[in-house]
Subunit: 648 residues, 2 copies
């Protein structure tokens, strides 16, 4: 690049836009600064005119969001032009000799990464020959390609301060990009670690290990959620400029590849802390920094990922879930990980249902072959393995072991039935089928199908990441959008009450339903996910998911705090409806969040631009709608209260 | 036809299959008898072989419905062959001279009926030239064409016994084909009536009139519901062979055309009795005799028909609602009647929503023009009419008068705005927008759209005729099919609980929702329809609709009695959820049916072949499922009970 610049007499400018944006209060929003710099340098139109147009447009776009935001953006225009720095290009750059760089890491890359992923990521995808896709004729892409992107997009990344850490693992739990993880090291592993690797002694069940929180600086987006959630007296995490943390990359590679995940040391499904010792099988996605959706996805891959099948509705989750060549769903050391696919917006539940039915057919066939083999005199060891498998067939936790036992028993058996079962080995393990999507899918476009599939009674799980708006397409109102929220097609505030998807589905009585919000209760979320997956029938989990479309005034770094406020204020409720409890004569419905503090409702409304902007644009309508919004929230809470008070 | 038979030496046979079917217990099912007769006469295969094949097939088809049904059908095979009578064709038939018959009634037929409808009904549609459809380029068909079919398909039709009649009008209320109606005659009209026309003196509000129940024998299907529902001490209706009642046709024509409908004498929306003095604007459809759906459709056309717009989902109701050239939706003497159209199965709610939005735009335009005209000095009479219209614009009952007043005031006004309003005169009257369909539409295929449209808050009405099965396509299971019912795709009994559509939609809180069953409460039905239509927002009425697919052992003539049993047994509940009550601080939910007599539940199950056949085919599964069915019904009832006991 240096050579190219010098050879072509290219003018080379730099600007510290990030620093300016931070100083004038725009956080990480550098676009206006860069735009102004562009017009200043290029002079494609007279710069005075450009400034006038940019400033007028800022007034038009942002005046309803408040004068402060207008002023900040006007400052961005002025500073963008003022702080350009021209870099003088040394003549001898033209004399540089190009050499092919072979990084040490390249060796860890598969042929597919080198021949397909890297070229596409380098914007050279168009030049790929068809032959590069040999072996991919079925349309599948290998998992875990995001691991090799190492985008390094964060301005600042967290640094672990080991002496303050209380080993709660909350930083890892809330991280939207799986870039910060706890590792457990043996003495030997500690010894072999890169120099200067700090660890602390594990507490409780992990006391035999050295504990370390490890950040992957080149995968981090710098959203800051880990720092904000950290509950230690003195913060155990602090954001530092990326440039100062590059040495952590080597440590990350050591932890991830050499130390690995000791997920059998603790029961990973038992506590929030334990869950984070499991390897996330969803990592480094292209979701926005501070995304409210991805922490949920990450968690389910930690709990069930090695036997998951995911049908993903179109929307943010399908884009960050798999935009070629980027596949954040990955595999563990055994090569097991989620199977993932996206069909359409409107048929995702049906798509997942089809996966479940297909798997059922295969597993029924396995059972049938086993039963016939046992009738026809398979040996005792095989019989025992088969009997064990048939008994535990639908037990998610036990199925992996039972399947290994079957494969072990069949190792030296060559009968046709044994061969057939071995050919079907991918279906020995009980699958955990999930249908993922946002509220646009579940409340609107895919609702008819979701309802149909949940009604079927089939053992499938739906996770709805409720951002209360069509996030991916730019924030259009959905039936999940509450009264008063400003959204596209609802510029003067949404007029209708938010649909109560959970309560609708609870009318079936045989569907497990839960509403969760990670920031409000990490424990309740873990319980709900576990119960949903274990429930031998359909399950629906509706997860509150803050989104950049909400305009959190406190910033996305505090999205967990915002969720907490949402629940405390009665804006969102936590509950679980478990039909199994009804069979025990108990109330299947349990409201997990406390009686709201209704005085906080207005604080919540005021804390997000999607609401507060209405006060600027339509002040009277805002007053009217916010009053209704609160009444609606109380109305909804009362409905749950009745379900608590009058058992089913 | 006589000439053709004689000229072509055609063998001419007759058989009184109806008599045979009645004698052997098959009711009006003559198909097996006719099939046997066919094989006997044609000898297309050796008759012995035909008998064997027919009898084997009967065993295969009906054995799960019981031995009795098998035996009856075997008897039908034997009798069909035995009772053929050959008619000797007189030679002189060949000498007959054809003459064009011009019935007196032809004069009442429009050009469209004569040139399009009659040829199609005579199976000569293929020979119609394109020019026959001139003026129909927009795809519309004139209403009320079924009036000219006069199919005469009933074996027996009701005869009115005036001296027994108590003037309750229930016969008319329950008639699925609008073939029996009460008329009010002035002295003069009585005098001018065809000779021998019996009437009785009107009681109460109608005491100034002569009262008569009039049957249209050529439109009647002979289903017998009128006779069964008749509550007078001695029945006021008795079924007589069609041939004996043909003189009633002339009387019908006199009543319908000359006497007409005196619907202003009483408040037709007030009582069941009153409602039947209104002209049904849905008549003589091609629905099955004893259809459980059509009485509901007829009733709403009596209450709101002259200003209705109907979006009809695909299904039975779209087939009997409009199969070219048959249009049962008709107009009153002023030419006002329902606008009707059918789009698809999956988009009917959206289709109706579009109608509503279109009408809204037109009416907003009218109001805008009126307001501008008033600002710019329209005269006092016009101003008064406009002010009145704007005030009553959305009042269904008053809108017709207010609109007439506007048209009257504008009669001699030629200003451009007056012309524009006059051009929009069809939109002056508030429309009553209805979305009609079955459970296949509302619970399954169109549910996503129905939910979306009801959630919109728009003033539309949905009528779901719940037959608990896809009726039109032959009885496939839907999510409305309860546990244990045998249906296609549920041959061993439905396994999942019936979806509670009403309770799902009640979670919105701003949708009027009712469940009705004509046979269980005629009054509650009338109230629900009235409230649904008047409610200034979305409404959903779910109507229990017996269907030939249910296999009522007591016959479709007693479908009202069956509905009563369904409600008494707790199989179906009656309720109304009116959000307006909540605004008054009352419980919006009202359970209209009494505490069920659960002992009757098994009686109900035993009374329909869709259930009882399961006992034949899978006796153990039947026991298991019927137990669950009852538990489900109790579970569902308890949910309603809780809503009654713990006000919203």
């Amino acid at each position: 690049m240096k050579k190219y610049i010098a050879e072509h007499n290219i003018n080379f400018y730099i600007i510290n836009a990030t620093k300016i944006a931070t100083e004038i209060g725009l956080g990480n929003r550098i676009n206006t600064i860069m735009q102004s710099a562009f017009f200043k340098i290029t002079q494609v139109i007279p710069f005075d005119l450009a400034v006038k147009e940019m400033k007028d447009f800022i007034v038009k776009s942002f005046s309803r969001k408040g004068e402060e935001i207008v002023n900040m953006n006007h400052a961005a225009v002025d500073k963008g032009a003022a702080h350009i720095h021209k870099v003088e290009v040394p003549r001898d750059w033209a004399e540089l000799v190009e050499e092919k760089q072979q990084k040490a890491e390249d060796n860890g890359k598969s042929e597919f990464i080198k021949s397909v992923v890297d070229p596409i990521n380098a914007l050279k995808g168009d030049s790929l020959p068809v032959s590069a896709f040999k072996g991919r004729e079925d349309g599948t892409f290998p998992q875990g390609t995001t691991e090799f992107e190492k985008r390094g997009i964060a301005v600042s990344v967290p640094r672990w301060i080991h002496e303050n850490c209380i080993q709660c693992n909350q930083c890892a739990y809330v991280c939207p990009h799986s870039c910060i993880r706890p590792f457990l090291l043996t003495d030997q592993e500690k010894k072999a670690a890169p120099e200067g690797t700090e660890t602390i002694k594990g507490k409780g069940a992990i006391k035999e290990f050295h504990f370390r929180i490890q950040v992957s600086p080149l995968d981090c987006t710098g959203c800051g959620n880990c720092v904000e959630i950290c509950p230690s007296k003195e913060k155990s995490l602090v954001l530092e400029p990326l440039g100062t943390q590059e040495q952590e990359h080597q440590r990350w590679q050591y932890m991830h590849k050499e130390v690995g995940y000791k997920q059998n040391v603790v029961d990973i499904k038992k506590t929030v802390k334990n869950s984070q010792f499991a390897q996330p099988l969803f990592e480094f996605s292209g979701a926005c920094g501070g995304c409210g959706e991805t922490p949920y996805v990450k968690l389910i891959t930690q709990l069930f990922g090695d036997r998951m099948m995911i049908a993903n509705a179109t929307g943010c989750s399908s884009i960050y879930g798999g935009s070629a060549p980027s596949t954040p769903y990955t595999v563990n050391e055994k090569g097991h990980g989620p199977t993932w696919a996206n069909s359409l917006f409107e048929d995702n539940a049906e798509y997942g249902y089809g996966m479940a039915l297909g798997v059922n057919a295969m597993r029924d066939r396995i059972q049938n072959r086993m039963e016939k083999a046992m009738e026809n005199g398979a040996d005792e060891k095989v019989k025992e393995a088969f009997t064990n498998w048939i008994q535990l067939k639908n037990n998610g936790d036990e199925t992996r072991k039972a399947s290994d036992k079957v494969m072990e028993a069949l190792k030296n058996v060559d009968a046709p039935w044994a061969k057939e079962i071995k050919d079907l080995k991918d279906y020995l393990v009980k699958k955990s089928v999930w249908m993922l999507g946002g509220d646009g899918w579940a409340y609107d476009i895919g609702f008819g199908g979701l309802d149909h599939v949940l009604a079927s009674g089939e053992d499938v799980n739906a996770l709805v990441m409720d951002t209360e708006v069509y996030s991916n397409t730019g924030g259009q109102a959905s039936k999940a959008t509450p009264v008063g929220a400003v959204a596209k097609f609802a510029a003067s505030g949404m007029k209708t009450r938010k649909k109560d998807l959970g309560r609708m589905i609870m009318t079936y009585g045989y569907v497990y339903v839960a509403q969760v919000a990670m920031g409000a209760s990490q424990n309740q979320l873990l319980k709900a996910m576990r119960e949903a997956e274990e429930y031998p029938g359909p399950s629906l989990v509706i997860a509150y998911s803050p989104c950049i479309n909400h305009g959190l005034k406190k910033g996305m770094a505090k999205m967990n705090e915002e969720q907490k406020l949402a629940v405390e204020a009665g804006y969102w409720q936590l509950y679980r409806y478990n039909p199994l409890l009804e069979k025990e004569g108990k109330n299947p419905f349990q409201l997990d969040s406390k009686e709201p503090d209704w005085d906080k409702f207005d604080d919540f409304i005021a804390s997000e631009i999607r609401y507060s902007s209405l006060t600027k644009s339509f002040p009277q309508e805002a007053d009217r709608l916010f009053k209704i919004a609160k009444e609606d929230a109380i109305w909804r809470y009362n409905a749950y209260k009745r379900m608590t008070d009058t058992p089913q």
